[in-house]
C-alpha cells in the first residue's frame, strides 16, 4: 500500500475575525480504512484550445462506489477564463444538471468520486489556451474497455 496525504489551509478575512481552516487526510480504501490507496491514473497536463467538452475521467476504468479522489487544477492564470467541471457522460456546460462548478485560472479542487459517471470539462474560451492538470487517486482501477 502507499501513503498519500492531502492537506489544505484556507484563510480568509471576510469576517471581523480571522478564519483559518486546516484539513488533513490520508487517502484510504473504502473496504479497509486502515489501508492506503495504491493506484493512480497518473498526473496529467492537458492543453485546451476550444470550448468542446471532453472526458477527463472515464468511469468504466474505475471500480464503482469506492473511495476515489479526483484532483483538478486550472493551471492557467486568467481569472476571466474557466473550465466547467461536470459529473456527466455528456457535455459540461452552464446548464448541465450535474455541473459542479467553474474552475477559474489558478483554482483547484479535490473531491471524492464514486466512479459511476464520467467527469467532463469544457473550457470557457477558444481564443485563449487553457491548461488543465488532473489526477485520480484510485480505489480500484479496472482494465480499460475497448
Amino acid at each position: 500500500m502507499a501513503t498519500i496525504n492531502a492537506t489544505t489551509t484556507i484563510s480568509s478575512d471576510i469576517a471581523s475575525y480571522p478564519v483559518t481552516i486546516s484539513g488533513e487526510m490520508t487517502m484510504t480504501k473504502s473496504a479497509n480504512p486502515s489501508v492506503g490507496l495504491e493506484e493512480t491514473t497518473g498526473l496529467r497536463t492537458k492543453k485546451f484550445t476550444t470550448t468542446t467538452a471532453a472526458v477527463i475521467v472515464e468511469e468504466d476504468e474505475l471500480a464503482d462506489n469506492t473511495a476515489h479522489k479526483v484532483y483538478i487544477r486550472n493551471a492557467s492564470a486568467s481569472r476571466a477564463n474557466f473550465f466547467y467541471v461536470a459529473y456527466n457522460s455528456g457535455a459540461a456546460a452552464a446548464a448541465t444538471a450535474e455541473t459542479i462548478g467553474k474552475l477559474y485560472g489558478g483554482d483547484w479542487m479535490l473531491f471524492p468520486y464514486n466512479g459511476s459517471t464520467d467527469i467532463t470539462v469544457a473550457s470557457s474560451t477558444s481564443t485563449e489556451t487553457q491548461m488543465l492538470e488532473y489526477m485520480v487517486f484510485a480505489d480500484g482501477i479496472v482494465a480499460a474497455k475497448g
Partner: protein, 145 residues
C-alpha cells in the same frame, strides 16, 4: 479582503521512483474578475444516517436566481467513531462520491440551475460534518410582510 486556499498532496511511494509533491495556491475571487469574495457561512453539524441534507443556500438564493456564479465549498467529515462511516455528496439529486470519516473536499460550486443544491446523505451512523461556503452572491429570501 482576501480568501486563499492552498493544497499539498504528497506521497513517497505511490509512484515508485518519483515521489509525488503537488502544491497549489489560489486566491478566491468573484466570477470572472479579481475582486475578492465577501460573504461566507460555516457550521459544524451532526447528521443522522439515511437522511438527505442540503449544505448551504438554495440554488435560487445564489445571485437572486441568476446562477452560474462563483462560490467555493469546503466540507470535512469530522467523524471519528467509526472509519467506515461516510456521507454521500452530490448535486441535483445525483450522488457524486463518498466522503469517508476523516476525509475533506474542496470544490467550486456555481449553482448551475434551480435544482443544483449541494446535498449530503450520511451513511453508517451519525456523522459530524464541518463545512464552509465562501461566496459573494447569496440573496436571502424576502421576509413575508
Amino acid at each position: 479582503m482576501a480568501t486563499t486556499a492552498q493544497i499539498t498532496i504528497t506521497s513517497p511511494d505511490l509512484m515508485p521512483g518519483s515521489a509525488l509533491n503537488i502544491t497549489a495556491n489560489t486566491t478566491l475571487t468573484k466570477a470572472g474578475v479579481t475582486a475578492d469574495l465577501d460573504q461566507k457561512e460555516s457550521a459544524v453539524i451532526k447528521l443522522v444516517s439515511g437522511t438527505e441534507y442540503r449544505l448551504g443556500p438554495l440554488a435560487t438564493e445564489m445571485a437572486g436566481d441568476a446562477h452560474d456564479i462563483a462560490s467555493y465549498l469546503y466540507v470535512h467529515n469530522k467523524t471519528t467513531e467509526d472509519a467506515t462511516y461516510y456521507v454521500d455528496w452530490g448535486i441535483h439529486e445525483t450522488m457524486i462520491g463518498r466522503l469517508y470519516a476523516g476525509d475533506w473536499m474542496f470544490i467550486p460550486w456555481n449553482a448551475s440551475d434551480d435544482g443544483a443544491e449541494i446535498e449530503i446523505e450520511p451513511q453508517g451512523g451519525t456523522n459530524i460534518i464541518e463545512y464552509c461556503l465562501f461566496n459573494s452572491d447569496v440573496i436571502l429570501p424576502t421576509a413575508a410582510s
